[in-house]
């Protein structure tokens, strides 16, 4: 295949879009080219990127995980409440978060796979439960703070690169390998493409679905921990924005909501794209309303573009 601009656009549309948006943003505001700003975007993308990577796995099975917002909030409340600003409590706090995320993920998976509840309903209900639990746990008045050592995972750097970005990219690439190179990964795609056919071929469909929701929950927890470390404080509203943006990042990255098509690597680009867009609209003084409109238009446009690309025969 010839390595032309056109073929690049066709094969890696979202990466081209990331670069294109960056170029446009830099023209409007040269500050975007500042290395510090590039690193800042990576640092902030990590929160959304982590959650979106988990969301990708679930979307690939043909499901959706709307409980990620509740997981992020509850993890934020739980980790700060248990750490109480003390480095000695980090381990216990993280252990509790892992346990909660595992329970949430397995429950989501069981509700979807065994009780055949529509994923959007099951995870929306779970989201509501998690937010309710966070409210009951705090009585509306959250206390505690993240430990200083813990905060370095989002505020610190590793060899000049944001630590949160390193966590996100390492984990996302690991998940990408899991999807591409292992039997489990192929099962995920098979379940998403056609669950019945997959079952007939001997894929343990239900277990695969449970595993997908569990991984999503775990990655949402990682996102929640990162954003907690970024701000260091509990906040009951911290997870809200992740419910939709995590889905948006995946879809813009090219993963189909219908399942079976897409991948984790393009979600990395999708998350970068969304954060870059927010950052650009912040700098370009776009109003919040304009920001929402632009985001909506780009989601719709991306779906149209992917459909058109899929129709064309490969060169």
């Amino acid at each position: 295949m010839k390595f032309t601009l056109f073929s690049l656009c066709r094969r890696y549309p979202i990466w081209v879009a990331v670069l294109l948006l960056y170029a446009v943003a830099s023209l409007v505001s040269p500050a975007m080219l500042n290395p510090d700003q590039v690193l800042n975007i990576v640092r902030v993308t990590a929160f959304l990127g982590m959650v979106a990577t988990g969301q990708t796995i679930v979307l690939l099975t043909g499901g959706i995980d709307l409980s990620v917002a509740g997981v992020v909030t509850l993890v934020n409340i739980l980790s700060t409440g248990l750490m109480l600003g003390d480095n000695g409590n980090i381990f216990v706090a993280m252990l509790a978060c892992v346990a909660v995320a595992a329970i949430v993920g397995v429950t989501n998976g069981v509700l979807v796979a065994y009780f055949r509840i529509a994923p959007i309903i099951a995870t929306l209900a779970m989201n509501s439960i998690l937010f309710g639990v966070a409210l009951v746990y705090t009585g509306g008045a959250p206390h505690g703070a993240a430990a200083p050592a813990f905060n370095t995972i989002a505020q610190g750097d590793i060899l000049g690169f944001p630590a949160s970005g390193v966590c996100w990219l390492v984990l996302s690439i690991a998940v990408a390998m899991l999807m591409r190179k292992t039997v489990f990964g192929r099962w995920i795609y098979a379940v998403g493409a056609n669950a019945r056919a997959a079952a007939m071929m001997g894929v343990p469909v239900r277990l695969v679905v449970v595993a997908a929701y569990t991984l999503s929950s775990m990655l949402a927890m990682c996102g929640g921990l990162l954003v907690t470390a970024y701000i260091g404080n509990p906040s009951l509203g911290i997870g809200n924005s992740f419910m939709m943006t995590s889905v948006v990042a995946v879809v813009v990255g090219g993963t189909a909501l219908s399942g079976g098509v897409g991948g984790v690597v393009t979600t990395i680009a999708g998350a970068l794209f969304i954060t870059e867009l927010n950052s650009f609209t912040n700098i370009a003084q776009a109003s919040t309303g304009a920001q929402f409109v632009i985001q909506g238009v780009l989601i719709a446009a991306s779906v149209v573009v992917y459909r058109l690309l899929a129709r064309r025969p490969r060169a």
């Binding site: 008045a141 703070a145 505020q155 701000i231």
Partner: protein, 360 residues
């Protein structure tokens, strides 16, 4: 600690058994009784009371309960109500941030034939028909904190966002000596409170002040920090931060600190996190200043007392303005609560012990 103005001006609001019941909760109520100083009629128009006898039932339709300000507000109302338990029952319903649910909640309270309905509206427009229905049913209605459209409610009380904005604008202008580039943070997109504060602040900023960007940060620290990180990249010079909530001010300051920039003057409200941050950083940042206007979380107590007053047949002003507290670098130590979480709003009648219990 004297917070609320001059004692000689104090008129103790004598409403029913408030003082008699105060034995157990003496200190809180004693402080709450000084609150009357901080309430002024906003109009000459008076609302007529409806005299009711026997034990009263007062309902409170809380629009939502997901932040610490609301939690503190509700706690203070509960304390006030339990001190007056012989006088009235206090029924709380929670709209969970849902405009429709709150309307249903109010309808439920009407169906239960309560004597008064207090509310913090999720939408000042959506609750209008329900309040009219309450009026027809002879129920006293007292919306507070956030304004409600129309006239079909008995009495309203709250702070005046426009006045707050005027103070914040003037003080920010002073802190910057009338010159400099600033960025600003609002709460939820399109909310009338932020709009009112900004309308008040804008004309007070001198011609030498340039607003580089005014962004919605949802009154969330993390959102303000993320946005500020972008703005720092775009603008090499930021001399001040306008904000109508101090969570956003401190989030923005944390981003400045992370970027290694010198900290600058900010505005905001009585969020403990900013006071603690200021205390920790001021020695290393000579240019860090703050001028804050509180959003008193004891408004609910006044709303309860207003309802009781109306139900004993008295008249009250149709609109009352709550006077907020001003906090700055000179007096912040009086208000800062170093042992309590950042999320505490310090303009409260709750004691430190009560706050500790609430935030645990």
């Amino acid at each position: 600690m004297k917070i609320f103005g001059d004692v000689s001006r104090r008129r103790v609001m004598q409403l029913g058994a408030g003082l008699a019941g105060g034995l157990l909760l003496g200190s809180t109520l004693a402080r709450a009784d000084t609150l009357v100083d901080s309430v002024v009629p906003a109009t000459d128009e008076m609302a007529k009371g409806i005299k009711k006898s026997g034990k009263l039932r007062i309902g409170f339709s809380n629009g939502f309960s997901g932040n610490t300000w609301r939690t503190e507000c509700l706690e203070q109302m509960k304390i006030e109500a339990s001190a007056n338990a012989d006088r009235y029952d206090f029924i709380v319903v929670d709209g969970q941030g849902d405009i429709t649910k709150q309307v249903n909640d109010i309808e439920d309270l009407i169906a239960q034939q309560v004597d008064a309905i207090l509310l913090i509206a999720n939408s000042g427009t959506a609750v209008v028909p329900a309040l009219r229905k309450a009026e027809r049913a002879g129920i006293v209605t007292v919306p507070f904190n956030l304004p409600v459209d129309g006239e079909h409610w008995t009495a309203y009380l709250g702070t005046d966002p426009h006045q707050k904005g005027m103070i914040l604008g003037e003080k920010l202008n002073d802190m910057l000596s009338g010159k400099g580039k600033i960025v600003g943070f609002d709460g939820l997109p399109g909310n009338s409170y932020s709009a009112g504060v900004w309308e008040g602040a804008k004309p007070k900023l001198g011609p030498g002040i340039e607003m580089l960007a005014l962004k919605d940060a949802y009154w969330e620290e993390d959102k303000a920090k993320v946005i500020m990180a972008d703005l720092l990249a775009a603008y090499p010079q930021i001399d001040g931060i306008y904000s109508d909530g101090a969570q956003m001010a401190v989030g923005a300051l944390r981003a400045m600190k992370a970027a290694g920039r010198a900290l600058v003057p900010v505005t905001g409200d009585d969020y403990n996190g900013l006071l603690k941050f200021y205390h920790a950083e001021k020695a290393n940042n000579l240019n860090l200043k703050m001028s804050l206007v509180s959003e008193p979380s004891w408004e609910g107590i006044i709303a309860l007392r207003t309802a009781v007053k109306l139900l004993s047949g008295e008249s009250v002003p149709k609109r009352q303005t709550i006077k907020p507290t001003r906090i700055d670098g000179d007096n912040y130590l009086q208000y800062m609560k170093p042992d309590l979480p950042d999320g505490v709003f310090v303009d409260t009648t709750l004691t430190d012990e009560q706050l500790k219990k609430l935030f645990s």
